[in-house]
Symmetry: C2
Subunit: 320 residues, 2 copies
């Protein structure tokens, strides 16, 4: 059942003992949402804890001060920024019992009993901001840090085309509430580890171009990642590089995963819908950024994702 | 004489035949200001043209549609985002006759007859937004593109610590007025030429660390720039790289210039005031970003700027 912000707030006020689930491969938006909601619920006297199925990278440590660690038997499951319970990994069975989902993905599968979704919002944190206002919780510096983090990270620091005036208005509001925006921006958008710099140097040596330079692809072998002692952040940051190169409409980054699969991340110009290409291979995402997995080696992954991207690009160019 | 926004608007309404001067090595803020003001003055029936002492990089071409090209004998000189007429190059003598200066540099020398300065603003375009409102000119898409460009480029797309809630509020407002923010952000913050990527690869090979990794320095020989056919944008983008590396408090980029001088660009953490270090060598800037020039070879430049940076860093660390 789809509900609105006010109904979500009423539900949250009427219940208790919340388990808030954030998605695996956690990013600033799901973590910001989860900790902001957890803190807001605790401030109105509820028991709540926010849980992520995977380890949270240390660069997000500052989010933890938005809420207390509470141990209790949960009664009410709320998923935040989780479009599909598949994204919960081992916690999928728990997510399948969700009473409420707060999300900004148009592709939300409607798995929860109640779904509050705004596909047009750049981040789930923008929606969480409205929910917290409806809960009549005063936003303090710690919650402001959470909301700012989601709004900033899901828009590439207000750079991507998904950014809206609302994103900026909420960022301004969070800054007024004391959000430590300079630290947050530095950590997420400036800081590069030595490993990341080396990784960038290495993968750029072997960049491949297709379709006359309109498709650029880099690949990241696990052996390289291990040899540089790079972490998931270092690797994740590579995804945006190929599309940044002049003349490139489709940027692809293929990462070898520990389980032997290959994860392709697409970034596209307005000519190609990244989510649509990735959906051909069981993946998904947004119009300008998507991802999907392959299971038969690096060459197979490259061949198939490039073929599908080239077809989408040619179709778009034919229509121009 | 220091004046306020209303007085600046009254002056602009009372006079005519404006020559608007933008600073050399033009950036998005001076160009955004100049073209926004030129467009606004033309919309209230004034003759105006915006002039830059150096060639304007093509990535700013979209700003030109904010105003018409008008030929006339100028009567009133207005400088925008120009802290010192030295920054006008060959046009310094014209700048020295300025009737009005609109600027956001605390270091403004007060050279103009009337100075409207807001040192706490992240960009001069934020101040220009207020002036245009005071002129009662309706901001259209073209002027919105100008204002958005200054606000975004002077804050590294809202990333730098100089960003304020006001910066975000104005960005939101410009987006509502139709600013083509996705194109502008892509052009200024994402797009990398092939030359720039090669340049980054090459300079990172020879990065030097000092003070246990707290100072990082890259140098850009003119021969490398020429061999890659890199332009000033490609070279300019290198300045931010050393400071982005983990553990680095002072990032330095030394560029060999065509006239045989060496331009050092500093980016610093809050431990070191970049402008203060650069002022030791006749340069200047802001707290987190500054620049200065050396004239006795690359080694001399490196030795002197590193020594001054190390001293500033040690002083700061001693105080901690």
């Amino acid at each position: 059942m789809e509900i609105d912000v006010q109904q979500a707030a009423e539900f949250l006020k009427a219940n208790d003992d919340y388990l808030i689930l954030m998605h695996a491969s956690p990013d600033g938006d799901t973590l910001g949402c989860g900790h902001a909601l957890c803190g807001a619920l605790q401030r109105i006297g509820k028991r709540a804890r926010a849980v992520c199925p995977e380890e949270i990278p240390h660069k997000f440590d500052y989010l933890f001060s938005a809420c207390e660690k509470q141990e209790f038997e949960y009664k009410t499951v709320v998923c935040v920024d989780v479009a599909d319970t598949k994204l919960l990994g081992e916690m999928k069975p728990v997510g399948d019992t969700a009473a409420l989902c707060i999300d900004h993905h148009e592709t939300n599968t409607g798995y929860a009993e109640r779904t509050l979704v705004r596909g047009e919002y750049a981040s789930a944190c923008e929606l969480m901001y409205e929910v917290i206002n409806a809960l009549e919780v005063e936003i303090d510096k710690d919650i402001a840090n959470c909301i700012y983090t989601g709004a900033a990270t899901d828009t590439g620091c207000f750079k991507f085309s998904n950014t809206t005036p609302q994103t900026h208005m909420i960022a301004a509001e969070m800054m007024k509430k004391g959000a430590d925006y300079a630290m947050i921006n530095y950590v997420h958008f400036d800081l590069k580890t030595h490993a990341r710099i080396s990784l960038e140097q290495e993968v750029l040596k072997n960049i491949r171009y297709y379709e006359g330079g309109r498709i650029a692809l880099i690949s990241v072998p696990l052996s390289l990642v291990n040899s540089l002692d790079a972490d998931s952040d270092d690797v994740g940051a590579l995804s945006s590089i190929p599309r940044q190169i002049e003349g490139v409409d489709v940027g692809i980054c293929i990462k070898e995963k520990k389980n032997g699969s290959y994860k392709a991340s697409l970034r596209t110009s307005q000519l190609v819908n990244a989510a649509e290409v990735c959906q051909l291979f069981g993946g998904g995402g947004h119009a300008r950024a998507g991802g999907c997995s392959f299971f038969h080696g690096a060459e197979d992954a490259e061949r198939r994702i490039v073929k599908a991207s080239a077809e989408a690009l040619r179709t778009a160019l034919g229509k121009e």
